[in-house]
């Protein structure tokens, strides 16, 4: 991890028995891995599990002491493939990525791994990116567990439960010779809390030692006839072993009275939401003591039939609280009840919505509807017959503007899209696709560039139908993260092989920026444990691209425009690849700001740039903003009766990247922009020269004021 340090988090990982850990869920999981005697850890970063990767990357010393191998894998598929070490060796391994997009990428390796079965515990820590704050399509990873038959844990969202799930996950994996996926939702990853730490345990067999005595067993290879045996093994041995372990070790939990007219079956991750709804209905107290029986599925796949039937027995109705769709759990329980001839009524997606996050309101409404239908006497009177007349609160939904994420202040990707917008104004609109990463924000106003995203590293590939060319060339965008994840082969190699006529723009910001600024092979930083500084251009040339243009300062908008024009009009045959490189401003500021402050304090000469707008020259047409969208370029309403519209204004958060000036120049917008460089600790000579210029300029200014009518500033 380049510009951010996680050293203080690493200290949490060293806590021993008797100490209390305080922090976020994802860090607790990281600690639990070390307490479980894990032998190797890998993964691919992405919200909400980036933190696990970032902290381990900074914990090299601790990992070396324990003999744990940490790998920052090239993709989720690579990460899952790493779990192959647990197929033959009795070594616990864990990998992490986000779901379901990461699982999509990993599914090839996941299916093979699940077919082979494991010897050492294999755990996948999955950050399920669903609901508010999610940046991906709304699907469930659950289906993958059903498809490949690995087990899915969904623990209650508090630190002790999550930590317990990590340890139980490894044991379940070993007991059933099956990989286990531990699913944590966005908010569970970032939930804070405490748990009692235990000592870290070095792995019984390290991966290093395992190399000395290699093992193999052809029966684990996914080839016929073994693949048929694997399928039978899953059904006849691994699944029953898993059910037995889940029951014996009480992985699922019951709350509330033993008997009850109705009960709720819920995913572990839904427990706090369900309990809050019960609390608000007066059916549970602060500590979760509930009057309605709950069956909490900390293991959501497989469902243990005996447990479900036992819970249903004697109850009139069950409510299934299962977030997302399709409703796999509800369907399975329905089938269990039907086959057993149990008459318990099953409710779920009829009172709760099929699609969308189960927020506090949704759960309270759904559970109220369930209870009103099946056990109205449980409901407090005011819920049964509400008579509160609440004051009418004005509807602000039309007033409040939407605020989607966008490029940061000074982002080096902004000038790329400003240039592309300017060039499209000259040459007409083009077919453009995006990839995954920060650059996808260009699809939103003010740029509105690109209309599709098909997956990580697949930007250029998603334009391949247009590779044959036409009256205008297709353009695709891909980030450096996507390029190294999958793009080199699937997108660029694909373009070369199919003799594509399209243009691919590789946005190189030196990091995997959208996931938090991790290093990638082309990062410029020197990283003691990773090989960086592998140029993208060399890789692109290596797969056979001839037409490559490299721009090493994206803020040079005229040059960006020129390269776009050339790529779109050249008669070169074959793919046209533009590599636009400038450092992610967020990370650059993290590195430079403290150094700059230090230099200023030490008396060194430092220039700090910032941009400004002459408010009396700006006419308030906002053309500059339509080519920028920078958070620091905003509007200001002047106290001038002659002005109708607010003028552009740059606030103190400006980092002086230069985009506004460059764009104003390249698009011939207006002369309002100026750059102000504040010179800290100037030299004596410099000061003297500037003093003379200022004196002469002052005289000239006063002379003009004396000779004409003036009104104290601009009129």
């Amino acid at each position: 991890m380049a510009e951010r340090s996680f050293k203080s988090e690493v200290e949490h990982l060293r806590l021993g028995a008797g100490k209390t850990f305080t922090g976020e869920g994802i860090l607790a999981i990281t600690k639990a891995l070390l307490e479980s005697g894990v032998g190797y850890v890998g993964g691919y970063q992405g919200a909400p599990i980036s933190h696990l990767m970032d902290v381990l990357a900074d914990a090299q010393d601790l990992l070396a002491e324990l003999g744990v191998r940490f790998e920052a894998n090239a993709s989720e598929a690579a990460a899952t493939a790493m779990l192959a070490a647990s197929v033959h060796y009795p070594i616990r391994g864990a990998v992490t990525y986000k779901g379901p997009v990461g699982v999509n990428v990993a599914s090839d390796a996941l299916a093979n791994l699940s077919s082979s079965g494991v010897n050492g515990g294999a755990l996948i820590v999955l950050g399920e990116d669903y609901g508010e704050g999610s940046s991906i399509m709304q699907e469930r990873s659950h289906a993958f567990a059903m498809k490949s038959q690995f087990w899915l844990l969904d623990p209650r969202p508090n630190l002790p439960s999550i930590v317990r799930a990590v340890k139980q996950g490894f044991e379940l994996s070993e007991a059933s010779r099956t990989p286990v996926m531990l699913m944590v939702r966005i908010r569970s990853c970032h939930v804070t809390g405490q748990f009692e730490a235990a000592d870290n345990i070095p792995p019984a067999l390290t991966v290093r030692d395992a190399l000395a005595e290699p093992r193999k067993d052809f029966r684990r290879v996914v080839l016929p006839p073994m693949s048929y045996a694997h399928e039978r093994d899953k059904i006849e041995n691994r699944w029953p072993a898993a059910e037995a372990f889940i029951t014996e070790r009480a992985l699922n939990e019951r709350f509330g009275p033993r008997q009850g007219k109705v009960g709720i079956v819920l995913q572990g991750g839904m427990y706090n939401g369900v309990t809050r709804a019960l609390q608000r209905l007066g059916l549970a107290d602060l500590y979760g003591n509930t009057e309605v029986p709950l069956h909490v599925l900390n293991v959501t796949y497989p469902l243990v039939r005996t447990e479900v039937l036992d819970f249903a027995r004697g109850k009139d109705a069950l409510l299934i609280v299962e977030e997302g769709q399709p409703e796999f759990i509800e369907q399975t329980i329905g089938s269990m009840l039907f086959r057993e001839g149990v008459q318990t009524r099953l409710m779920g997606k009829d009172v709760l919505p099929m699609a969308g996050e189960y927020t506090g309101e949704v759960l309270r409404d759904g559970m109220t509807a369930f209870l009103r239908e099946t056990a109205p006497d449980l409901l407090p009177r005011q819920v049964r017959a509400p008579n509160r007349d609440a004051p009418e609160i004005p509807d602000l939904s039309k007033t409040v503007p939407v605020r989607p994420p966008g490029f940061c202040t000074g982002c080096p990707e902004r000038p790329i899209f400003a240039a592309l917008k300017i060039v499209q104004q000259e040459l007409g609109e083009h077919q453009i696709t995006g990839d995954i990463g920060c650059h996808l924000f260009a699809a939103l106003p003010p740029f509105e560039i690109g209309g599709s995203t098909m997956g990580y590293g697949l930007g250029p590939a998603s334009n391949s139908a247009f590779d044959g060319g036409g009256s205008k060339r297709a353009i695709s965008i891909i980030g450096d993260g996507g390029f190294w994840h999958n793009g080199l082969a699937s997108s660029i190699g694909n373009m070369v092989f199919n003799r594509s006529d399209s243009v691919a723009v590789i946005v190189d910001n030196y990091y995997s920026a959208a996931t938090g600024g991790q290093d990638v092979p082309s990062s410029r930083a020197s990283n003691p444990t990773r090989a960086t500084n592998n140029p993208i251009s060399a890789a692109v040339r290596g797969v056979g691209v001839d037409w490559i243009r490299e721009i090493d300062r994206t803020y040079d908008v005229p040059r960006m425009c020129e390269v776009f024009r050339e790529a779109l009009t050249t008669d070169h045959d074959g793919p046209k690849v533009i590599i636009a490189s400038s450092e992610c401003m967020l990370n650059r500021q993290r590195r430079e700001k403290p150094l700059r402050q230090e230099a200023i304090n030490a008396g060194t000469r430092v220039e700090v740039p910032r941009f400004g707008v002459d408010e009396d020259i700006c006419t308030g047409d906002h053309a500059c903003i339509r080519l920028s969208g920078c958070p620091s370029l905003s509007l200001k309403t002047l106290d001038d009766p002659l002005r109708d519209d607010p003028v552009a204004h740059i606030d103190q958060t400006c980092v002086g990247c230069g985009n506004c000036g460059e764009v104003a120049e390249a698009a011939a917008l207006c002369p309002s922009f100026y750059r102000a460089d504040i010179v800290h600790n100037p030299s004596g000579f410099e000061r003297w020269r500037a003093g003379i210029a200022a004196w002469l300029i002052g005289r000239l200014q006063r002379r003009r004021e004396r000779k004409s009518l003036s009104f104290g500033g601009a009129a």
Binding site: T192, N272, Y287, V400, P405, F407, D621, D645, Y674
Partner: protein, 513 residues
């Protein structure tokens, strides 16, 4: 399965009302995470069980984000806290920006039975507000009014400004305000200790905390209103010119009272743009509208004339830009805005891109017209001159160039640009005057179309073309009872988007009607 045996029910036992629920709505980058950590540290240090959640990742890149904290006195067990705020169930809502307060209200997180709303009154404009060619800024008054109704208690002042003035970020002022609001059962010193557990920028944070704390208790000293420019001063200059100015100012005082302030501002603008003669011309151009106007509409027609004629006469040309960029008052403003200190130097780089149109506009009218009529000649001028130019205006050489250009005010009357502008103004004002005779409201709207012409180069050309389109329709609808309303609608539509989609639609709608 693990069996958790229930406690006997129906006794007075701690329920969800014993939990303090606090949500923070912020814009990515405002330090909502830091504020959340302080609150957590504070609660734990005071013996409370506490849980916080947030959504990190790309959602934080300049987008709207929510942080959520719950706390309860530690008791017989581990409380079960929710992971996200629920509508109607939030005790304290902290909004780090005014529209985020509005978003909280719209989402139902602010309710009169329980919620204290602590909001900063400053605005951090969303992209959709900024890109509108006209004025797209959301209505802050509407949010404030809704907050007064929705919140049990509403604390609102400009916490961003206090933070910046303290050399810190808004999270610290919000924390100070939270302390002063007494919404949490902790003492000020405990809050400050929470800040001290952090490692970075502790002193600055404590200063901003103090600013927020005081402002919450005693009110903000000043400046909560939008920025005000210094009051307009009287004219200065040589005696003979001041005499002329007094004469012109006298003519303004003869105008109806409601017109005077704007006419005075307009007069100042055009005199500043050129000279006293030009001021005379301005008042002459306005005169016909004074006669056609009446008291019944509060002299709307004359006020429109005073405003838009001044703006049109003081068009944006190279000379004006050079003049404005070389004034002492501009330097003073930049020094204040940048916060430059005396021991520092300030370098200024101007970004300009004069095109053939601007160069030719500077030439004498007839020569300029000849060149402008020949595309080949224009292309040649473009080749010679049109490129991005950066001038270091704090240096003597570039300053002199701009200074000399800015001194061409009196020569300006002879330029091609002036001729073009005058001709345009003549056509437009005669159109308005014709309308004034029988439909003063329409004439007012026609004058108001001056608002469409702004910007430079392409933007200016687009504005002119919109202006022509709207005036074209005016000719069609003139005489209809809704002519003024139609014109106003078209003008507003033209200011909605850059591509003129709204305008085209509005024109179609009017043509159909």
């Amino acid at each position: 399965m693990t069996l958790h045996q229930p406690v006997p029910a129906k006794e007075a036992r701690p329920g969800p009302d014993d939990v303090i629920k606090l949500a923070i709505m912020a814009v990515g980058g405002q330090g909502g995470g830091v504020l959340t950590r302080w609150i957590e540290t504070l609660a734990r240090s005071q013996g409370y069980a506490c849980q916080a959640t947030s959504v990190a990742g790309v959602a934080q890149r300049t987008g709207a984000t929510v942080y959520y904290v719950e706390m309860a006195r530690t008791g017989s067990g581990q409380p079960v806290f929710a992971l996200a705020p629920a509508a109607g169930d939030v005790d304290i809502l902290i909004a780090a920006e005014l529209m985020e307060a509005g978003r909280a209200i719209a989402r139902g997180f602010v309710t009169p039975d329980r919620t204290t709303l602590i909001a900063s009154s400053h605005r951090d404009l969303a992209v959709s507000e900024k890109t509108v060619p006209g004025d797209g800024i959301a209505d802050a008054a509407e949010v404030r009014a809704a907050a007064e109704i929705a919140a049990a208690r509403f604390i609102c002042f400009d916490m961003e400004r206090l933070a910046v003035e303290s050399g810190s970020v808004i999270s610290a002022t919000l924390f100070g305000t939270l302390a002063a609001s007494r919404c949490l059962p902790f003492e000020r010193a405990d809050f400050e200790d929470a800040i001290r557990t952090g490692k970075r920028e502790v002193e600055a944070s404590l200063r901003a905390f103090d600013a927020g704390f005081h402002a919450c208790l005693q009110g903000v000293p000043s400046g909560d209103a939008p920025e005000r420019s210094p009051p307009a001063q009287g004219a200065t200059g040589p005696a003979h010119l001041l005499d002329r100015w007094q004469g012109l100012a006298g003519r303004v005082s003869d105008l109806p009272a409601p017109v005077r302030p704007i006419a005075m501002a307009g007069l100042r603008k055009v005199v500043d743009f050129m000279d006293a003669d030009y001021g005379q011309e301005y008042l002459d151009r306005m005169a016909p509208f004074v006669d056609a106007d009446g008291v019944d509409n509060d002299h709307a027609l004359t006020r429109a004339a005073a405003k838009y004629v001044a703006n049109a006469m003081a068009y944006d040309d190279v000379i004006r830009v050079a003049d404005l960029k070389t004034r002492a008052s501009r330097n003073d403003r930049i020094v204040v805005e940048m916060g430059t200190e005396p021991q520092q130097l300030l370098h200024l780089t101007e970004y300009m891109h004069p095109r053939a149109e601007e160069i030719v506009g500077l030439l004498p009218a007839r020569l300029g017209a000849r060149i402008a009529a020949s595309p080949r000649a224009m292309a040649r001028v473009d080749r010679w001159f049109s490129k991005g130019r950066r001038l270091r205006s704090d240096r003597l050489g570039p300053f002199l160039l701009l200074y000399a250009l800015g001194g061409l005010k009196r020569y300006r009357r002879r330029t091609r640009r002036h001729a073009v502008e005058q001709a345009h103004l003549d056509r437009w004002l005669s159109r308005a005057a014709r309308a004034a005779a029988d439909d003063p409201a329409l004439a007012t709207e026609v004058l108001g179309c001056g608002r469409l012409i702004k910007g430079y180069s392409d933007t200016h050309a687009r504005g002119l073309s919109n202006f022509d389109k709207v005036l074209g329709i005016v000719d069609q609808v003139a005489g209809r009872p809704d002519a003024a309303a139609c014109t106003s609608r078209l003008r507003e539509a033209a200011l909605l988007d850059e591509d003129g989609k709204a305008l085209t639609e509005a024109i179609r709608a009017i043509e159909r009607s």
